[in-house]
């Protein structure tokens, strides 16, 4: 570290926090690759988003406080920002995915002919009031 000796109260928690953050983030990314469908793939990266970022930022705060000989807390800005924006991002993505899945399910039996369209109209008589053309508004079913 540029020849500056870090004190012991920085190195021990810093080491633990950095190792924990690396492992958590790596496990989250592996879950992103391995899990089968989108709705289960939403979950693992949030581990790296919240805990990994938090651990790295606390370690960064410790190191810069020890180097500057005074409390340095400007990493709290990133923490605050990530904590505020991660749920917003996740919720918007989830709503987009739900909307797209519903639209895909609605559009799937359409090219099979008039019989299946009539059967579908019998099943869901809510949707018969609407014309069968595409209607891309998301709040039509509620």
């Amino acid at each position: 570290m540029n020849g500056i000796e870090l004190p012991l109260w920085v190195t021990i928690p810093g080491t633990l926090l950095l190792v924990a953050a690396g492992l958590l983030t790596l496990i989250g990314a592996m879950g992103l690759v391995r899990l089968p469908d989108f709705f289960s793939r939403m979950h693992p990266p949030t581990m790296g988003t919240t805990l990994g970022t938090g651990c790295v930022l606390i370690a960064s705060m410790l190191v810069s406080s020890a180097l500057e000989q005074r409390p340095v807390v400007h990493e709290l800005l990133i923490t605050l920002f990530i904590v505020m924006t991660a749920p917003v991002t996740a919720m918007l993505l989830m709503r987009a995915a739900v909307f797209r899945a519903e639209r895909k399910r609605d559009e799937a039996p359409r090219p099979t002919g008039a019989a299946s369209v009539a059967r579908r109209a019998q099943d869901e008589d809510v949707r018969t009031a609407r014309p069968a053309t595409e209607d891309a508004s998301p709040d039509q079913k509620t």
Binding site: M1, N2, I4, E5, L6, L8, V10, T11, I12, G14, T15, L18, V19, A21, G22, L23, T25, L26, G28, A29, M30, L32, V33, F38, R41, M42, P45, G48, T49, G52, T53, V56, L57, A59, S60, V63, S64, L67, H74, E75, L77, I78, F81, I82, T85, V88, T89, L92, L93, R95, A96, A97, F99, R100, A136, P138
Partner: protein
């Protein structure tokens, strides 16, 4: 004791870069568009963490500003992509 901390910092950087590569793999594989957007989200977050690790290892504060900028732009881009997937348009008239 500093050597142990250096090793931990290297290990964390390596983990973040590996996570970025895995997110890139999901971005290429992803069957639907929302998978790719989620992978992009993970990708920029891990890039931000890599920059923070660079800042810790070189003990300078320049990387902090870049990390904050990446967080801001990544949030804006993910919101824009999600809005586009949801409505077909980013800014509606």
């Amino acid at each position: 004791m500093n050597a142990v901390f250096d090793y931990a910092a290297w290990f964390a950087s390596l983990c973040f870069v590996l996570a970025m590569l895995l997110a890139l793999l999901r971005m290429f594989l992803g069957p639907a568009a929302q998978d790719r957007v989620l992978a992009l989200d993970t990708f920029y977050l891990n890039g931000m963490l890599t920059l923070l690790m660079l800042g810790i290892r070189s003990s300078s504060t320049v990387y902090f500003d870049m990390a904050l900028l990446i967080a801001l732009f990544g949030f804006a881009s993910t919101i824009a992509f999600a809005k586009f997937l949801l409505r077909g348009e980013v800014i509606e008239p």
